[in-house]
């Protein structure tokens, strides 16, 4: 079964996205090392289908087609009502839903400021498959 793990990071204010302006270089280094070893682990377990990190939400645009086929509306930023933004995702191939939960929990606790776990919300969604085979 395939699941998409969507990692939501705390959005910016004075502290910047992820509150990263308060992080020390060591905090940041630890965070990158954590993500590296997480990805390595997924790869060597044969569970990684795909993963992407997304550019800063400051570069995001929201596009919406308008009624009657006029010019589409393009607005800056991610959805303004959300406090968190999608920072990246993994697609994993696992045997059980519990394994997907365990992976999500692990990445949720990635280290942040002062090495403390970020406890980010990670949305877990099953990826739909093709039509059932005739067997």
């Amino acid at each position: 079964m395939r699941y998409m793990l969507m990692m939501h990071a705390p959005g910016g204010s004075a502290g910047g996205d992820w509150q990263i302006n308060n992080w020390s270089p060591e905090d940041f280094k630890a965070h990158i090392a954590f993500m590296h070893s997480f990805n390595k682990e997924l790869t060597s377990a044969g569970e990684l289908v795909g993963a992407e990190g997304l550019a800063s939400p400051g570069e995001a645009k929201v596009v919406r087609a308008t009624k009657g086929g006029g010019a589409p509306a393009v607005t800056d930023g991610p959805f303004p009502e959300s406090k968190e933004f999608l920072a990246g995702y993994w697609i994993v191939e696992v045997d059980r839903l519990e394994r997907a939960y365990a992976l999500a929990a692990k990445v949720s606790a990635a280290p942040g400021h002062g090495g403390a776990p970020l406890n980010m919300p990670v949305e877990v969604r099953q990826v739909m498959s093709g039509p059932p085979t005739d067997a």
């Binding site: 910047g16 996205d17 990263i20 302006n21 992080w23 020390s24 270089p25 905090d27 940041f28 280094k29 990158i32 090392a33 590296h36 990190g53 550019a55 800063s56 400051g58 570069e59």
Partner: protein, 431 residues
């Protein structure tokens, strides 16, 4: 060990295929005049060879083998085409219909070095967009399979197949004959070829997508193809310049990333890791190019790379000369990235204030608006000048804007380090 000898047999077969595929394509395309169909036929033959050779062994005449299989595919294609035409009640008079198409395996195929050049000219046709030209060049001239190219550019194979087939139909529609362009066209086409090779190298050296900073498969391929062009046009100064630039840049590859794949900038690299052989070869090439008297953009960039590579320690770098060379380059090409690099050289040669002054001209350049490199360079120069508070702001802005994960990590770390120092010094001040 069985595993490693199998691997090396497969590697050897692939290596050979990449060498032979464009030669065979050149002959098939010249005989039939239909580049698109010939390319399909040779690609099918290459895929068949890649499956069979590592297992059954490399045939005694691998080029003849590839040629025969390609011609068989070509013939199938022509037969199908003629049947279609017959159905449409068109008289089919095809000059290949009565020709015995399979030569004896040891026949001289009339492989002509110029064919490779014609192929390159065709693939780098100005009518094609750069992504199409790159894909087609890698497949037709580089002998890479669609799957390999797709993998190198991190796109699905179906997407890459579509891109290549679109490129071929564009070529077909443009009615370019499979022949050497006229002398006047030729210089223009060589420029287009070099640009495509440069883009392939850059994509390999500084990946614009994904988490990996370098895709050595692509930069190696670009170097191999540029060497081939250099063999065909040995006295062309810009070909020499581009090859030198690639070698002098590639020489630093091992020092450019750390064990975790993180970016190490030029001034922090362990220079003992640089490849002396590549540097020596690159310097010889650029000296040869410059001795010819013609000065082109690739030669100038190669000369700058050579000055960096000649400095055993970062503080030995001859910045005044680099500054002067960027000045010449800026006159030749209206490229804001050159202006940006010239500002860095100015800062190193004459102090950060001079560099920052040069940057202000770029603030109004629409091409640089919102580009992370402008913020990154400004941050660096501000840091040099001691204005750490503003440097942090620009490092952070650059980190937000870059699309490369290693660059973002590098810039974020720079900002974090300066900010931490500042916090440290403020606390000390209060005590």
């Amino acid at each position: 060990m069985a595993g490693s000898s199998e691997r090396s047999a497969a590697d050897h077969a692939l290596h050979l295929l990449r060498e032979l595929a464009p030669q065979v394509l050149g002959v098939v395309a010249r005989r039939h005049g239909d580049f698109a169909a010939a390319e399909d036929a040779v690609q099918e033959a290459v895929i068949a060879a890649a499956e069979q050779w590592p297992v059954a062994g490399i045939p005694t005449n691998p080029r003849g083998w590839l040629y025969q299989v390609s011609m068989r595919r070509m013939n199938d294609h022509l037969r199908a085409e003629m049947a279609r035409r017959r159905r449409e009640d068109v008289v089919a008079t095809d000059r290949f219909a009565n020709e015995p198409f399979v030569p004896p395996p040891d026949a001289d195929l009339g492989v002509d070095e110029d064919d490779t050049l014609v192929l390159l000219f065709m693939c780098c046709h100005p009518a094609l967009t750069p992504p199409s030209a790159i894909a087609l060049t890698l497949r037709a001239v580089g002998g890479l399979t669609t799957a390999e190219i797709a993998n190198a550019f991190l796109v699905p194979e179906a997407t890459m197949a579509q891109r290549i087939s679109r490129a071929k139909s564009n070529i077909k529609a443009s009615n370019v004959p499979f022949s050497m362009p006229t002398d006047t066209e030729r210089a223009e086409r060589v420029r287009a070829v070099l640009h495509v090779l440069y883009l392939i190298f850059n994509e390999g050296y500084a990946s614009s997508v994904g988490a990996d900073l370098q895709r050595t498969d692509l930069s190696n391929e670009a170097i191999r193809l540029t060497r081939a062009v250099h063999r065909l046009l040995p006295s062309d100064g810009e070909v020499l310049g581009l090859l030198a630039l690639m070698l002098l840049t590639d020489a630093r590859r091992a020092a450019r990333t750390d064990a975790d794949g993180q970016l190490i900038p030029l001034d922090e690299q362990d220079r003992t890791l640089w490849d002396d052989h590549l540097i020596a070869e690159g310097i010889a090439l650029v000296s040869e190019a410059l001795s010819k008297g013609s000065v082109g953009a690739y030669q100038l960039q190669a000369a700058i790379a050579a000055i960096h590579d000649e400095a055993a320690r970062v503080e030995d770098t001859d910045w005044p000369q680099i500054f002067a060379l960027y000045g010449v380059l800026e006159q030749m090409s209206d490229n804001p990235m050159v202006a940006l690099n010239r500002a860095i050289a100015a800062a190193m040669a004459k102090g950060p204030a001079v560099g920052l002054e040069l940057l202000t001209a770029l603030d109004t350049d629409a091409r640089m608006r919102g580009h992370y490199r402008l913020d990154a360079v400004r941050a660096h120069l501000l840091e040099m000048s001691g204005d750490h508070e503003r440097a942090v702001i620009h490092y952070r802005a650059a980190a937000e804007r870059t699309m490369s994960i290693p660059e973002r990590n590098y810039l974020t770390t720079k900002a974090a380090r300066l900010a931490a120092n500042q916090r440290g010094s403020t606390t000390n001040g209060e005590e």
